[in-house]
């Protein structure tokens, strides 16, 4: 399907379902190296986003949907994921502008803007064992797919696959940012919860687009 306002809504609804299904898994990941609240926080935040979508008038552009979701996440998630995903979606919305639907290059620009927003907000770099380690490979894979002529859905699918691989690759890393950094070497051997939720959210974006197309 075209990446229009309807897609953006379906993306967030699919993300909310994925987060709800993986709530316990995310909490277990976070219990190992953090404060165990990531699953609960994300579930509550995305449930609030869905409630907001249900209550609001039909949006005209994907940017409108993402901006409303960002504001909701910032005030409902509670943990670091609130301002981080909030910033990501705000920057994504700004990048999309008034466009009624996103073409492949716009999808790459949107993902890149979201990633840059997270870097600016969290001040983490690649290899710090954070969600950046899922976002950056996703942006790179999306760019590669777009320049090879892939459609918008295929660009999102490439991003989602790379985010999942990036999340898995955080397992052996020693955390240098966030709560997990207080554990030092003991943070190695566990997957970063933020990278794991990033993979879920980008998979939801691809799912909402209906796969390669």
């Amino acid at each position: 399907m075209a990446l229009d306002a309807g897609w953006a809504q379906e993306w967030l609804r699919a993300a909310a379902r994925a987060v709800a299904e993986n709530r316990t898994h995310l909490m277990e990941l976070d219990r190992a190296i953090g404060d165990a609240d990531h699953g609960e926080n994300m579930d509550r935040g995305f449930a609030a986003v869905v409630a907001k979508l249900d209550a609001g008038p039909p949006p005209a552009t994907p940017a409108e949907v993402l901006k409303a979701a960002a504001m909701t996440l910032m005030s409902t998630v509670g943990g670091a994921a609130g301002p981080l995903y909030g910033t990501a979606l705000l920057r994504a919305a700004t990048s999309l502008g008034d466009a009624a639907e996103a073409q492949p290059d716009a999808v790459v620009a949107m993902l890149s803007a979201a990633r840059d927003g997270i870097v600016a907000r969290g001040k983490a770099e690649s290899g710090d064992k954070t969600m950046i380690d899922a976002w950056t490979p996703a942006v790179e894979a999306a760019a590669t797919a777009a320049s090879a002529g892939a459609g918008p859905g295929a660009v999102l699918a490439a991003a989602a696959n790379a985010a999942q691989a990036g999340a898995v690759a955080t397992d052996p890393l020693v955390a240098r940012k966030g709560r997990a950094s207080y554990l030092g070497e003991r943070s190695a051997g566990h997957r970063d919860p933020g990278a794991a939720s990033t993979a879920l959210i980008l998979a939801a974006a691809a799912e909402a687009a209906g796969g390669p197309g």
Binding site: D37, N41, R44, A48, S75, G78, G82, T87, S181
Partner: protein, 249 residues
């Protein structure tokens, strides 16, 4: 009016408790807690809320400036987001402190009560860690905030002066006198050492714990050295204005 403070914590109880503690020493300062997140109704949960922080900044500000103090990670990020959403004029009057929450809030409140500017209050907050080893604070705060004074410029030059006095008032060098001394000395061009510590730091002066009958020894170096020693001497001999006519508190 004075600079207002916003206390951002993951815990509503911590934010309220810090405000309660700081208010003891700064009765006229607007101290606004922004702790926890209560989205979805019910009791406040652990976390931070953009909406709460943004509202607290408005409530604390009222045109006189705001210093925000935070606890861990996402509290800082949420506060930064709230700052980005302020209009430019309001943004110019708000500062985000990189400070230990409890010590910083107390020092900042004392400075605000004494009429300090937003920059004075920010500095008081950021220089307030005295009771813990700086190296033990990483990665919670930056080293410059944890070890105030370590980045000082070269040793001052110029005339020097010194003096020592016995504290006559019952309460000794407690919070209010410490704030009076630090604020008076801050305006002078001199490096002032009081019993071995920086005389321009409210928290360091308080940390000396000097009670009635204890000796205050000060050394000053710089163009205003003489004035600094006179200021301290006059304030101590006056019992910081806390003496009755018969010399009793």
């Amino acid at each position: 009016m004075s600079v207002g403070l916003v206390i951002v914590s993951h815990s509503a109880k911590i934010a309220e408790g810090v405000c309660e503690l700081a208010a003891q020493m700064a009765a006229d300062v607007r101290l606004v807690p922004a702790g926890g997140t209560d989205a979805g109704g019910g009791a406040a949960r652990i976390g931070t809320s953009f909406e709460k922080v943004a509202n607290a900044i408005t409530k604390a500000g009222q045109g006189d400036g705001v210093v925000i103090l935070t606890d861990l990670g996402s509290a800082v990020m949420t506060a930064e987001m709230a700052l980005e959403f302020l209009d430019e004029d309001e943004r110019a009057t708000v500062r985000l402190a990189s400070a230990a929450l409890v010590e910083g809030a107390v020092a900042a409140a004392v400075q605000a009560q004494a009429g300090g500017s937003v920059e004075d209050v920010l500095r008081a907050a950021e220089e307030a860690v005295v009771s813990i080893r700086p190296e033990a604070l990483e990665p919670f705060v930056s080293r410059s905030a944890a070890a105030p004074g370590t980045a000082k410029a070269a040793a001052p030059e110029g005339p020097s002066a010194s003096g020592s006095w016995v504290l006559p008032n019952d309460m000794g060098l407690h919070a209010r006198p410490a704030a009076v001394l630090a604020r008076g000395l801050a305006d002078l061009d001199a490096e002032v050492t009081v019993n071995g510590i920086d005389g321009k730091s409210v928290m360091l002066l308080m940390s000396l714990g000097l009670g009635k009958g204890k000796t205050v020894s000060a050394q000053a170096v710089g163009p205003d050295a003489e004035a600094a020693i006179e200021l301290i001497g006059a304030a101590v001999e006056d019992g910081f204005g806390e003496m009755n006519e018969d010399g009793q508190h």
